[in-house]
Assembly symmetry: D2
Homo-oligomer: 173 residues x 4
């Protein structure tokens, strides 16, 4: 079973909208963050910057998802653009579409049942969500998990991948 | 000669406006910052938090001055309030009054001729500006300089202090 | 061509001597260090501790090699044992055999032509040396390179691996 | 009451032995450490290096005391010399004289009743011990306490200082 499509109202640092579905065949690393979340700013986003630098040349897609679920009036698209500029964040960032019916949680965040920010999402080449982690993930573990997905070429080989067999990324918790 | 009065449009974390002039008799530590300035977030503001915790009980006034000179639409009072909440900043923060006549630099920042953020300002009990530093100041040095000003009781003793004699804070650069 | 065997005078944290040759079929991570090398203490050894914790359960062998090439009288086996105890280093550490004929450089260090400490060595399952790096390697990159070697099952599959084809670990510098 | 004299078997980084008594009139900062104590290496000694750099020009004496109470065979004078060289420690370091009658604790450490390493000792100009802290002291606090002692000129003024009145260094815990 593939993962829910991202529901993005606007993409920054990207010439055109990115669709998760269109990444099929590529490993995808996504980081759901808020620009005023201290743990995102001090840890998760610098980690994504290095991940983008190291793994984009290997064909990995690294994106941020701005999942604003609080302080909506502060974390506007305008504020986010200034933030990305000041923090030198160059990878694509999608603004999660605001919730409907008074839901403070934006739609992608709701669809994935995220508990907060930062949340790391790792997808394999077949579009399956292989990891969803709320909070801190060490660099050593993240590097291993990304490479594990990169080396999992079953789909590229045309081999059947029903998405239910053992994880490629098997670094123990 | 005393330092220019702060020109503040709104005070946060304070039941009432603070005036520099009204601090006479107290040592004052002010940090001019922007909420989207990486060096402010990673270094200067955590330093101010500890300075407030350590030195407020000794009678030191610690304040932040939100001197927005870029990305004005992003760093609004609403955004600043969210920022202070998320980063657990409890000391008073004054919003520097926007410049006039198209000046992107706010008025206090202009009056002090600041070069950027963060800028540290240290005032003695007589209201003299004793130090103005753009950029990083080590904790060891800052602790020394604050205590040096605290121990400079000339004014409190009624001794003449014309503000021109040697600095109390003499930690070499 | 396989890598030179380690030349070890004594193993610590290991019930018996470890031979590189005997690790065939396993990925091996070795860190050449000196207990009085600041970069080893602050970065490389903490990195090895986490690597051991994460990857030993996946069948990776993590070892330290104490390659003393200076201050020989200070970095004795007795001193090293105290160091390992105080820094809570639990993975096996081999003491590189001192050089002969007045060579200050120990024998394994000499055989590998190391430039200093720390030096990271990564071996694949076939015993080939796939990476030798003097200095700092980021955690993100190291995690990726270890996992890349883990996923390279050519040898385990019985496929011919002459050790000359492209690297499994292809994270760009 | 003045503090116990240091009992030092050998001074390093000093052309001649240093006596605490001979420092009368100067503020003294001493750090009792062991070269294989992780907290000393990562925090206390870098702090002393900066303290030496900042405050020596102001007339403060900064010294290390190598108080070896464990792993005696590892932390020899020879090993300490190599350590000081590798860690670029340039301030004077005294080797605490080994205990007698089988006491594992060296004599200065015993005389001060220290609980472990690192232990910070701050002395005023009159030779009184004003602070003894086992463990971590923040840079901001240490800077303040050193400057407080520097500004306490009672003794230099000839004013009576019986060592029993309130502390000059009054940064709250």
């Amino acid at each position: 079973m593939t993962a829910p499509e991202w529901r993005i109202s606007e993409w920054l640092n990207s010439p055109e909208p990115l669709r998760l579905e269109a990444q099929r065949g590529r490993v995808v690393v996504a980081c759901a963050f808020q620009m005023l979340c201290p743990g995102c700013v001090s840890h998760a986003l610098p980690q994504m910057k290095e991940a983008h630098q190291l793994f984009a040349p290997l064909g990995v897609t690294v994106v941020g998802l701005h999942t604003v679920f609080e302080h909506h009036a502060a974390m506007t698209p305008t504020a986010l653009k200034a933030f990305l500029h000041e923090y030198r964040i160059g990878f694509p960032v999608g603004i999660d579409t605001p919730g409907t019916g008074g839901d403070p949680m934006p739609q992608t965040m709701r669809a994935y049942g995220m508990q907060g920010t930062p949340t790391l999402l790792l997808y394999d080449r077949a579009g399956n969500l292989r990891r969803q982690v709320f909070g801190h993930v060490s660099d050593l573990r993240l590097g291993a998990e990304i490479m594990s997905l990169l080396n999992d070429t079953r789909m590229a080989d045309g081999a059947g991948d029903d998405g239910t067999d053992g994880p490629a990324c098997s670094v123990p918790d």
